[in-house]
């Protein structure tokens, strides 16, 4: 029995005892990456120092700076420093004031907010409740509209107080506000292309965007938090190659980088010249099964896959240990983490083969679809391929460009698709969008009144304690029906120079530059 399994069993026991909140420190201590010496805490650097410039090396090129439309992670991680959300989420999953100083749920369908009175857009206009109304109303008809689909209207009381009325008692309200709702200026949006010229109230204003190279942000002197940001200038440099990014950090060209070759993480963590943030398992990787036809229209076939999957092997061989096994959308320290597993004791190849026999699929050819831009997809597919071989399923790996990949997902031309979902602060964001019968993200085509009812109970429930109690049963229902199967949660971990302070791995995956500084 592996060390990993022992830990999971231990956690399940704790979960059964209803000690969900206790899981955070326990898991943090057990996580293999967290055992290594991490970045010195902010306090170890003393008080933050203002001034200086920093270069942050990101993986891909931002393409769209409109927070209502820009969906690529490379765009989000830049524009989240230009715009502000109403509330923030911290590394410990607590929600903190940002543009909203106070907020309260008045009744299941109404939330009231009070805004800061000194927030100013980068064009000099003051930010008021009207801007919040405009931002949310506008977002509903744009690319990220799915996240505010249950927002009915914004009622402006005065310049600094407003209410959000919901169509349903939306449980992940705070998670949604902290993750996706950025406040824009109507005047700025209507006067110039918001995809190219972002005007927000955030800590930094954009001064230069060289497509394919870098985005330079300058400190916004009228930022509503007078003590922040610390750095005068932040440059987001796009460096696609993992090794080149790491070389840039080692030579001092970059102050902060994301994603290094996973095989090198243990060595890097021992380095005295590079620091790293505390790793958070915030990237759920999963496979989607096409339930509309082909082998996985059969429930037994989907359950057989569950019994055949060896997550320990996937974490070891596909992620080189830089992930944690996961049978659900979130892992500790997320307060919703349940540890529920319908296939407890797996992998069990005999059970898998028996189920395949029931489904008349003893020897079947199938295809694993992966997107070529993410190398971890291919590694996962290769490990899955060998695991499925053991139960008589001959899988070929089909590597597709993003255009082909998303096209095939949407048109359900796949058997198994490897993917990840980054909206996992609140698991409802993941499960509802991927699994609800009529959701636009439901690529598996699975429609079940039972699952829909469980999703509705969990998602449209204003009582967070009640939601946490409902969550494990909903997870088990999804595991039982298996339209999609979670494999592992990859760690979000960042690497920095040793004098670079304030970098944190946040559950929203945002790169919060306002907290970063260079220690003298």
């Amino acid at each position: 029995m592996t060390k990993e399994f022992d830990r999971r069993s231990f956690l399940k026991t704790l979960t059964a005892a209803g000690s969900v909140v206790l899981l955070a420190p326990v898991l943090a201590a057990c996580s293999p990456l967290n055992n290594a010496a991490s970045s010195p805490s902010a306090s170890a650097f003393g008080n933050p120092v203002k001034g200086g410039t920093a270069v942050l090396a990101i993986q891909d090129n931002p393409v769209n700076m409109d927070p209502a439309d820009g969906q690529l992670y490379s765009s989000l991680q830049v524009y989240q420093n230009i715009f502000s959300t109403l509330i923030n989420v911290e590394a410990d999953f607590s929600f903190a004031a940002n543009l909203a100083t106070t907020w309260k749920q008045e009744d299941p369908l109404t939330w009231s907010f009070t805004l800061v009175q000194n927030a100013v857009f980068h064009n000099g206009d003051p930010m008021t409740a009207k801007d919040v109304d405009y931002s949310i109303t506008r977002m509903k008809t744009h690319g990220l509209g799915a996240f505010v689909a249950f927002f009915d209207s914004v009622e402006v009381i005065d310049d600094y107080t407003f209410k959000i009325h919901l169509t349903k008692p939306y449980g992940p309200m705070e998670a949604t506000l902290a993750s996706f709702v950025n406040i824009v200026s109507q005047k700025a949006v209507e006067s110039q292309d918001p995809k190219e010229m972002p005007i927000g109230t955030g800590p930094y204003m954009m001064t230069e965007w060289v497509k394919g190279s870098h985005v330079t942000l300058k400190r916004w002197d009228k930022y509503f938090k007078s003590d922040k940001p610390y750095l005068d200038q932040v440059t987001f440099q796009s460096v696609p190659d993992d090794s080149v990014r790491l070389a840039g950090l080692q030579t001092g060209q970059f102050d902060w980088i994301q994603t290094v070759p996973a095989q090198q993480i243990p060595d890097i963590e021992k380095s005295t010249t590079i620091s790293h943030t505390k790793a958070g398992p915030y990237f759920p990787y999963l496979i989607e099964l096409n339930t509309t036809g082909g082998p996985f229209a059969s429930l037994q076939a989907r359950q057989a896959i569950n019994w055949a999957i060896d997550r320990t092997e996937i974490v070891k061989l596909s992620f080189f240990g830089a992930a944690i096994e996961a049978a659900e959308a979130v892992s500790a320290p997320n307060p919703f983490f349940s540890g529920a597993n319908y296939y407890d004791g797996g992998p069990d190849l005999d059970k898998a083969k028996a189920l395949l026999a029931q489904a008349n699929l003893t020897s079947t050819d199938l295809e694993i679809l992966v997107e070529q831009e993410d190398s971890s997809y291919t590694l996962i597919a290769q490990v899955l391929q060998s695991q499925l071989q053991k139960i008589g399923l001959n899988a070929t790996i089909s590597t597709a460009s993003s255009a082909d990949y998303f096209g095939r997902l949407a048109s359900q031309k796949f058997d198994i698709a490897v993917t990840y979902f980054s909206a996992s602060l609140d698991p409802a964001l993941t499960y509802y969008l991927l699994g609800y019968s009529t959701s636009g993200f439901n690529f598996t085509g699975y429609k079940s009144p039972t699952l829909d009812a469980a999703l509705e109970s969990f998602t449209f429930n204003p009582d967070q304690d009640a939601r946490k109690k409902l969550y494990p049963d909903m997870v088990k229902l999804f595991q039982q029906e298996s339209p999609f199967i979670f494999l592992a949660n990859r760690y979000a971990e960042y690497f920095t120079k040793t004098d670079f302070a304030g970098a944190v791995s946040l559950p929203t995956l945002e790169i919060r530059a306002e907290d970063m500084w260079i220690s003298k």
Binding site: N61, A403, F406, S411
Partner: protein
């Protein structure tokens, strides 16, 4: 003569446009799905396809595109909605500077080495140069790029590991940012040039007039540089013209590796997202650059060999 050559480029451009346009549409993948990403519901895909004009017949799409090109309008980027002409105006100088830098470096080391190799035929210097040439041809650009980063950025810290510094920020920093990518590109090109130079020089050095020059008491330097090299230059220039295509192809890989914001990087990103108009525009730019380079090569023949002027063969 030049006019005739220029007129001949028109059918080449039209043919290339048709081929590129057709091939792109044969590749599986939908730009609408790439634009929408994980939000790609079937209804939204239909809507975006309609907005992009992708629901029109292929021939109509081609006519619309080619009409725009004739008017100097490459269309708009599907992903960013930016004018492609503007995108190219920003990115083309980066690629041209990189290619020019690599080209000059290749010439600076390849031609002298090729001459030395021919003059010292059979000696250890010849064998060493030939081995070096084969080595540089056999190893791909990106391997030289990664080795360059490890040695010059990581170990010696004399150049940045990636990124581009424009000339406006200082010529020194600009050249430093392009040094390793340019060397990575130049090595492969240089290997070919060394072999061609050596071969052409050997042909000339064995010619009767060179033997006559030796017998007449001319010095080795005069024979090699005044007579032999000039006469050997026609095949060298021919290969240089053809290798410019290789050089532009190499920028695609090298720009991606070093994060240089040039046309090569743009074409990779556009290809992955099936950003048809951008891919088409980039390939057209490369084709035009290749045709211009070959036209310049043909014209150089006439300068280098006066006999060709009279024959009108250029």
């Amino acid at each position: 003569m030049i006019l005739r050559r220029l007129l001949l480029t028109i059918p080449i451009l039209i043919g290339t446009s048709i081929i590129v346009f057709a091939i792109l549409r044969l590749i599986p993948g939908d730009p609408a799905a790439a634009i929408l990403g994980s939000n790609a519901t079937p209804d939204m895909i239909v809507q975006v396809r309609s907005q992009l004009g992708l629901d029109q017949p292929i021939y109509q799409q081609f006519v619309t595109w080619i009409t725009g090109i004739v008017q100097g309008d490459f269309g708009h980027d599907y992903i960013t909605n930016q004018s492609i002409t503007e995108e190219l105006a920003v990115r083309l100088p980066v690629t041209l500077e990189l290619a020019a830098f690599a080209f000059i470096l290749a010439l600076l080391f390849a031609v002298p080495l090729g001459v030395i190799s021919a003059v010292r035929q059979g000696g250890w210097l010849d064998r060493a140069v030939r081995a070096f040439a084969v080595f540089t041809i056999a190893i791909p650009d990106f391997v030289f790029g990664i080795l360059g980063i490890l040695v010059f950025a990581l170990a010696l810290s004399v150049v940045p590991s990636s990124g581009f510094v424009p000339i406006s920020a200082g010529l020194g920093d600009n050249l430093r940012s392009l040094a390793v990518p340019a060397v990575a590109l130049a090595l492969g090109l240089g290997g070919v040039l060394i072999r061609v130079t050596r071969s052409a020089m050997l042909d000339v050095l064995n010619a009767d007039y060179v033997r006559f020059a030796k017998a007449s008491g001319f010095g080795a330097g005069t024979i090699v540089f005044r007579y032999a090299l000039r006469n050997a230059s026609v095949p060298i220039v021919t290969v240089i013209g053809l290798q410019l295509g290789y050089l532009l192809g190499g920028t695609v890989v090298v720009e991606q590796l070093f994060g240089l914001p040039g046309v090569g990087q743009l074409i990779v990103q556009a290809m992955l997202s099936r950003n048809y108009p951008v891919v088409q525009a980039c390939i057209l730019v490369f084709v035009v650059a290749f045709i211009v380079a070959n036209l310049a090569t043909d014209l150089l023949y006439a300068v280098l060999n006066p006999r060709l002027r009279k024959a009108g063969a250029a």
